[in-house]
Symmetry: C2
Subunit: 488 residues, 2 copies
Amino acid sequence: MTGYESSPLYRIMHPRSVAFWGASNNPMGMGSVQLGELLAMGFQGQVYPVHPSESVVMGLPAYSRVQDVPGPVDLAILVLPTRVVPEVLEQCGNAGITRAIVVSAGFGEIGSDGKQLQDRIVEISRKYGIHFLGPNCIGVINPRHKLNTTFYPYVAAPGFIGMASQSGSFVTQMFVQLEKFGLGFSQGMSVGNEGVIDLAECVEYLGQCPWTKVIGLYIEGIKRGQEFVRIARTVSKTKPIVAYYVGGSKAGSRAGISHTGALAGPDPLYNGIFEQCGIIRAGSIEELFDFCYVLGSQPITKGNGLAILTHSGGPGAAAADAADRCGLEMAEFAPDTLEALDQTVPHTASVRNPVDMTFARNYNDYLEKLPRILLSDKGVDALFVYLLMPHKRVIRSVIDSLMDKPENSSAIADNFFIGQAAAVAGLSREFGKPVVGASFHTRSELFIREVQDRGLPVLSSPERATRALGALARYSRFRQDMVNNNDD
Amino acid sequence: MTGYESSPLYRIMHPRSVAFWGASNNPMGMGSVQLGELLAMGFQGQVYPVHPSESVVMGLPAYSRVQDVPGPVDLAILVLPTRVVPEVLEQCGNAGITRAIVVSAGFGEIGSDGKQLQDRIVEISRKYGIHFLGPNCIGVINPRHKLNTTFYPYVAAPGFIGMASQSGSFVTQMFVQLEKFGLGFSQGMSVGNEGVIDLAECVEYLGQCPWTKVIGLYIEGIKRGQEFVRIARTVSKTKPIVAYYVGGSKAGSRAGISHTGALAGPDPLYNGIFEQCGIIRAGSIEELFDFCYVLGSQPITKGNGLAILTHSGGPGAAAADAADRCGLEMAEFAPDTLEALDQTVPHTASVRNPVDMTFARNYNDYLEKLPRILLSDKGVDALFVYLLMPHKRVIRSVIDSLMDKPENSSAIADNFFIGQAAAVAGLSREFGKPVVGASFHTRSELFIREVQDRGLPVLSSPERATRALGALARYSRFRQDMVNNNDD
């Protein structure tokens, strides 16, 4: 296995300098937009635009030929018309550049003519020892290195999800999706037509990335099947991999061919591959990130026993129904658990699983005492907690409970929310069991934001949260099987 | 069939006056919270709090007994301890009140003792001819009548979704879910334990409500099976019904019993019932509203042929894959369609279905010209369009295209967005075919908000949008079968 820093991807993701083809002083060109985002992200290394006629591009000194660039170049980015790509790649090779991102499209994905051109650039890259991403890709994001070669601003935080995708959109347009949950990419790469670097190589690299806690894959078709299985099976012994595969249907397969030229296979074949590798399959792009959120942040489970804590019957029943359908079992509580619950909940409440408070009057009980009782039960391997904290009502409740009504009551209420969020978010680590929440409210609510930012995943519905716990339980079984079989 | 205004539900949903039990001057009590929301909504009728000792409750004159209330009472709302409910209901009967909402819990859902008490209040209601919702419910919302008896503020707009739910949360906590899409309830009722008024009666009532374009149901178990089938089958011939049923799994069924005492049945039984009635089943609460959104706003389809328009390959492939899995077919375009597409898209684009622009330079083409070409094709029964309108970039593009750079460039860009939104949102009506969009951006973006507010559904992912179109196609087949069989 290639080491992290010796992986060909390392310098693509951590360049000290970039030579950029295809940007100009027309701000609407795709290359200009991409260079603009690279600069906007605050990239710390040297940036050398290469342009045939302009001496300054977007405020930077530009060079007409790569030989004229005054320093060493770690990474070449090509946003050029298809036909000139081979020539420029050859120039890169001659200049000793060994890493590149080929954004240009019009290769393997458009049919046999494009395939021939793609073969040619692969041949050139072999001749000069160039490792490149693409063609027909949108590049990479490495927020901690302040590297964004794509054409969207990175609005999310640096995160723990490593992404490798056959769709550029499912890297770049996910910035806004991740931001909805306070999540972010550790590193993300769009592999396009996989001329040289493919998904397998990305999985190997992300498997070793210290910031990456979970790997997300968007797949239209896997190229080097055996190699992919060998690598993914090794990586997923220590780091979960979640895959969204769209090539298993007739329509999805056809769409994939005209998108990246990828060759798909039927669902059973891919399900077999995924199972062999311990890869968890997601059914949609939202679910891919739901699963990554929980698998990348929560400890693995010992079993399938789920406890559901709610103060709203419908969301509790919805979570229970979803649990049954994704392989989780409703935990049967031990007698002392039932006794402890009985002493805490109101008489209208149900202490059977789901535990339903019916109307949450005491938030300390709901967010700390009850979860502790449930997580202490041996039969409970995971906890789902429905999180609804009606901001205004809680503020009123907090204020009413104070002897003096101080002027800074809003700050006091905020502190209350933050304290409650810290209490519930710390339980997972303390008990070594996964805890996942759900709310129809979003991060615009202080409480949700605080819970998420303290590491407890809050998903958008009870069903989505439960299914993500189901995915975690499936992955946990794979890990246990590996240990039991002493597989290496 | 009972007429709309002669339905027992009509006066519950349109009371001219309300007597309210259970509110006090302690703002934290559940009754006080509910009365507070009723007043906050701006209810126009008389409100009479009934309280044993206070003469003023929350600023309103209060009455110690219902006989003392100075005017006629259309609706009694009871938020009282379980044990006093029978007595108060008896008093209501004596005072000639015939409509009530019993919020109080502790009846059929807690076991045989509660069941006995529930039987008793049903008996009282029969004696006096009282029709009530509940017990163990959260009441109703009728935004156009400014009626909100629940304990959450109604933050959404008056809308077209009629909701009847065995979970109060899946009425009240959906206010914020609907608001994410600019949607709202036409009328919504939480039926609780269905002591008297049940889901079937709500479906009959909503079927006749002029504001309700689609009916959403949350079901833990159906009570009067034959009656439900008879009514739902009649209603869904003209108005779609979407149901989210959680009782089909072991865990969901058990949760339902302790929630509302509902008796569930296995999935195949309920799927049979739904099929017989033309009810479309949703797999989650989010999906329930996704389906309602599209079924309530878009025309029914003639067939299953779907066209996908995108400028991002991944989202296009994801939509195609989802289409295949939900019974839609990728339309094969006619020769003149292909020719017209070829003349409009760039050379890197794909004119096969999905139509992939690869990089949208010309938004007029993308949002108007191309959709028109596709919707004119006889084989296209429905259109999915991926909507991504990067606000900043479009503004820059619009400004750059202007000869003069005016100072009010932001207003000009806004007008551009509004114009584009109007163009794409008008297509569905013009062609009589459903059009549905998706974006990872939300209503915080002007463009998305404008498109949604002009009647084109924009869902949160390509898969969700496509599945909702699949649900519409399934409902359309039911409607056609009804016509073909001349069923009545």
